[in-house]
Amino acid sequence: MTPEMENPLREEMRMERKAPPCAIVIFGASGDLNKRKLTPALYSLYQQHLLSNGFAMVGFTRTKMDHQAFRNLMTETTKEFAEGGIGDPAVWESFSQKLFYVAGDPNDPAAYQELKELLTNLDREQGTACNRVFYLSTPPELYAPIVKQLGAAGMSHPANSDSWVRIIIEKPFGYDLPTALKLNGEVGAVFDENQVYRIDHYLGKETVQNILVFRFANGIFEPIWNRNFIDHVQITAAESVGAGDRVGYYEASGALRDMIQNHLMQVFSLVAMEPPVSLDANAIRDEKQKVMMAVYPFTHDEVPRFAVRGQYGAGASNGKPVPGFREEIKAFNAKSKGHQYNEESDAPTYAMVRLMVNNWRWAGVPFFIRSGKRMPKRVSEVAIQFKRVPHLLFKQTKADRIEPNSLVIRVQPDEGITLKFGAKMPGQAMHIREVNMDFQYGQQFGRHSPEAYERLLLDCMLGDPTLFARRDMVEKGWELLGPVLDVWSEQKANFPNYEAGSWGPTEADEFIAHGAPHRRWRKP
C-alpha cells in the first residue's frame, strides 16, 4: 500500500494524483534522453504541483561537475527542450534547488558510496523519506554493472518497511531472447520483479491508454470485438524520416527490434487481450501476457508465411529527393573517422509480421503489424477492419463497391478515433459514400495530453506498474519474434525493395492480399 492510499486527506477526485516523497537518481544524466525528456517531464510535474515537497533529483554521470554546474546545465537544456522553456524563473529556481549531482564511473564502488551518502542526506534535508527511483538512461551495456553496483552498495532494497526502491530500465530490454534472459537474470539477481519498471514510452501515450477505456468502458464495442465481426486488424507505426544520423543504431537493430518487438507488441496486446478482472496492474498485465501466450509460435521454416522485410532505396520525401538507407550509411562512413558500418547492410527499415491468436475470440483473425521508415507520412494507428455485410442489398446500384466498416484508433498525430461507414448520398440515385465519424482529442477536450514520460515517471513514483512491461511479456515477445530475427540474419535480402516515400515493399502488399484479395494495406 502506498503512503498516498493511507493519507485520509488525499483520496478524492479533484486532487490530481501526486507523487509521494522520493529521490530519483538518473544514471546518464548528461545524455539526450534526460535533457530532452526526463528533466523537462519532472519539471512539468513540479509546475503542476504533482511532485511532493520531499522530492530530489540526482544526476549521475562520469563528467566532473558540482551540484551548481549540473543545475546550470539543466537550466540551459530545459530552456531548449521543455515545452514552454522554464517559464517563471522563480519556479525553475525553486525546482533547480532540488537537483543534485554525483560524478563517478558506473563501475566504481566508491561512486556508489558517495551516492548513498548524498541520498541519506537528502532524506534528512529534503524529506525524501528513503524512497528511491533509479533510472537507467545509459547505453544498455551499462545496465548490468549499475544494477550490480547498486546491489553491492546496499541500495537495491528499502531502508525500512515504510519506504521503497524502484528501478526504471529503458529499452532495449535485450537484443534477442538470450540477451533479454541474461539482462533480466542480472536485474532479477539484485531487484525483485515488483521493483523493476521497464519503460515503454508508447504506453504513456494518451491514445494507447484510451484503448483500454474505449474497449471496456463502452458497451457497444466489446460484443463485436471478435472473430464473428472483425476480418483483420492492422497496426501501423510509420515514420517519414530516414535513419539519418542514427544509421549505426538502425543498422544493428532494424525495424523489428526498434518498434515491433516492444511498442507495437504492447499495443497489440491491449487490442487483443480479454477484459481484466480489475484495473489492478497485474490483472491487466496478466491478460496481456495471456494473449501473448495465445499467439501462434511460428517456426523458422514458416517465417516467409508470417513476416516481410524491406529497406528503402532512394526516393522522395516531403517533395525532396532523399537517399536510400545504404547511401546514408556510405555518407555516414565517409564523414566518420570512427566505426564504419556495413554499406551493403541488410538491416530492415521496414518490417511486417502477421500474428495469429489461437483463442476463441480471435481464431482466424490475422493481426498485421508493420513499421517502417521513409514512408509517406508519420502516423501510428490501430485499424480494426470489420467483415463485409453478409448480403449486398445494393448490388444493382453503383453502391456495390461499398467498403466494410473500419474503426481506426490514431495514436499519433491527431490522436483520436474514427469510425468509417457507408451513407447514402443525397439525390435520386442510390449512391453510397463512405463517411467518417471522427473524434479528436484536441477538439473534444481542448487540453493538452501529458507527455508520455510525465505520466510514466509519475506512475513509477506512485508504484503503479500498469503501463510498464513485465519480464515475462518481454521474454515472450522475443521468443515469438526470434525465428524472424534468426532467418533474416541468416538469409541475404534483395534490398532495397521499396522507394523512400512509398508505403513499403510490394511483397507486403502481395502478402496481405494472399488468400484474401479484399485485404489491402491502409494508406493512412
Binding site: L9, M15, P20, N53, G127, Q444, G446, H448
Partner: protein, 383 residues
C-alpha cells in the same frame, strides 16, 4: 495548453423566441461558417461535449463573454445563456444565436461551438425554463451554472429538474455561510437527479491539495492521528454576520468528514469574533477555532494544525498560509524530525473560467464535497 487566445464570438441578432427560427439560425450559422472556411481555405470544426446552461442576473455580460470563450476553448459545448427581468412591465421572450470559436495554434484549426442567448422579461420569466429545454443537444449532459443570487422560484426550480449538474457560487449569496445549509438540503433532496457544486469549494482545491500533500510525507502522516487543534484565520471582511467565512466552514467540514470527527455540543463565541468548536475522534478531543482577522484580505487564509501526544506535549505544528498578494502558499513546519521549516509554493488564483472548467470535468457526484458540505451544514445548524 495548445490553444491561443485568438477567439471570437459574434453577437447574434435578438429575435422573438421561436424554436423553428432558432434551429434555422443555427443551421444557417454553420452553413455560413463552412462557406467562410472554404473561402479562407481553413477548417472549422463544430464540437460539442455537453450543454452548458448559464443563468446570469448580474447584468455582467461582458465579463461572462470572456469566461464563455475560455470555457469553450477547453470544453466545447452548446452554451445557452439566460437572463431575466421579472419586474419589467412588458412580457418579452427573445433569443439570438452566435458562434463561439477558438483556434488551436498547433493544428491551425478553428473549433467552434454555438451560443444561444435567451432573454425573458415580465411574466415570460416564468416560461424561461420550459422554453430553453428543447434547445438542449440530446443525449449530452446538461450543466446548469447559476451565476447569481438563488431564489426559490422560476426559472431555478424549473431548471433543476433537467440539469445533471448544478453549479452555484455561495459567495454570490447575501449570507454565504448560511446559504451552505440550503445547498446541503438541496443536494440531499435532489441527490438522485443532480449533483451540486459550489465554486467556493473549488477555490479551496489548491490549498486542500497542498495540505493533503504535506501528509504524503510518512513522518508527517504519523502525526495526523495526533491532530488536536485546528485554527483557521480568514479575512474579517469575509465574515457572514455572526458566522465564519464559507471557505473556513467548508474546510472544517472537510476535516470533519475525512478524519471522522464527531461534533460535540460545545460551541463558543469569543469577544474577538472567533468561533470555537469541539470534536471527538474516539477518545481524542479536537479543538477548532475560526477567527476573523483584519490582517488578511481577499482570498487569504491561514490554517494552523497542532499535533500533541497523549500527555499534551506539542509534537508538531504546521502553519499554511494562502497569501493572495504574493501568489503563494507558505508552509511553516516545526517537528522534531523534519528539518525544513519553510516552503513557498506558487498559488495561482483560479479564474472564473478555470473554476467552471474544473466543475465540468466532474461527472456525477463529488462525494468528498458533498460530505464536507453536509458536515458544514451540521455545524451551522448547531450554531
Amino acid at each position: 495548453m495548445t490553444t491561443s487566445n485568438m477567439t471570437n464570438t459574434e453577437t447574434g441578432q435578438m429575435k422573438p423566441f421561436d424554436l423553428r427560427t432558432i434551429e434555422k439560425d443555427i443551421r444557417n450559422l454553420w452553413e455560413q461558417k463552412e462557406e467562410a472556411s472554404e473561402e479562407k481555405k481553413s477548417t472549422s470544426t463544430r464540437a460539442c461535449v455537453s450543454n452548458l446552461l448559464i443563468y446570469e442576473d448580474q447584468e455582467d455580460m461582458a465579463s461572462l463573454a470572456n469566461t464563455i470563450l475560455d470555457v469553450t476553448r477547453h470544453h466545447p459545448c452548446r452554451i445557452i445563456v439566460m437572463s431575466s427581468k421579472a419586474n419589467a412591465l412588458e412580457d418579452k421572450l427573445e433569443a439570438g444565436v452566435s458562434p463561439v470559436c477558438s483556434f488551436t495554434i498547433a493544428k491551425g484549426k478553428e473549433i467552434c461551438s454555438e451560443q444561444i442567448i435567451v432573454k425573458a422579461e415580465g411574466d415570460a420569466v416564468k416560461r424561461l425554463s420550459s422554453s430553453v429545454m428543447p434547445l438542449f443537444v440530446s443525449d449530452l449532459p446538461v450543466n446548469l451554472w447559476w451565476r447569481g443570487v438563488l431564489v426559490d422560484a422560476q426559472p431555478f426550480s424549473g431548471l433543476l429538474g433537467c440539469a445533471d449538474r448544478v453549479i452555484l457560487d455561495s459567495s454570490y449569496s447575501n449570507r454565504p455561510t448560511a446559504f451552505l445549509s440550503i445547498l446541503a438540503a438541496l443536494s440531499r433532496e435532489r441527490f438522485k437527479e443532480a449533483a451540486f457544486s459550489d465554486i467556493n469549494w473549488s477555490r479551496l482545491t489548491q490549498l486542500r491539495s497542498h495540505v493533503s500533500g504535506l501528509f504524503d510525507v510518512p513522518d508527517l502522516l504519523a502525526y495526523l492521528k495526533d491532530l488536536s487543534k485546528v485554527s483557521i484565520e480568514f479575512p474579517a471582511s469575509a465574515s457572514d454576520e455572526d458566522l465564519p467565512a464559507p471557505q473556513a466552514m467548508l474546510l472544517v467540514g472537510w476535516f470533519m468528514s475525512r478524519l471522522n470527527w464527531g461534533l460535540t455540543e460545545d460551541i463558543l463565541r469569543s469577544r474577538t469574533g472567533a468561533t470555537i468548536l469541539k470534536f471527538l475522534r474516539g477518545e481524542q478531543e479536537i479543538t477548532v477555532d475560526m477567527t476573523p482577522s483584519n490582517k488578511l484580505e481577499n482570498q487569504d487564509l491561514r490554517l494552523t494544525l497542532t499535533m500533541t501526544d497523549h500527555t499534551g506535549w506539542q509534537e508538531a505544528r504546521i502553519v499554511v498560509t494562502r497569501n493572495y498578494a504574493h501568489n503563494a502558499i507558505e508552509t511553516k513546519l516545526e517537528t522534531p524530525t523534519i528539518c525544513w521549516l519553510k516552503n513557498v509554493a506558487r498559488y495561482e488564483m483560479p479564474t472564473e473560467s478555470e473554476l467552471i472548467l474544473s466543475e465540468l470535468e466532474i461527472l456525477g457526484h463529488d462525494v468528498v464535497y458533498e460530505n464536507a458540505l453536509e458536515c458544514a451544514a451540521q455545524i451551522i445548524e448547531k450554531m
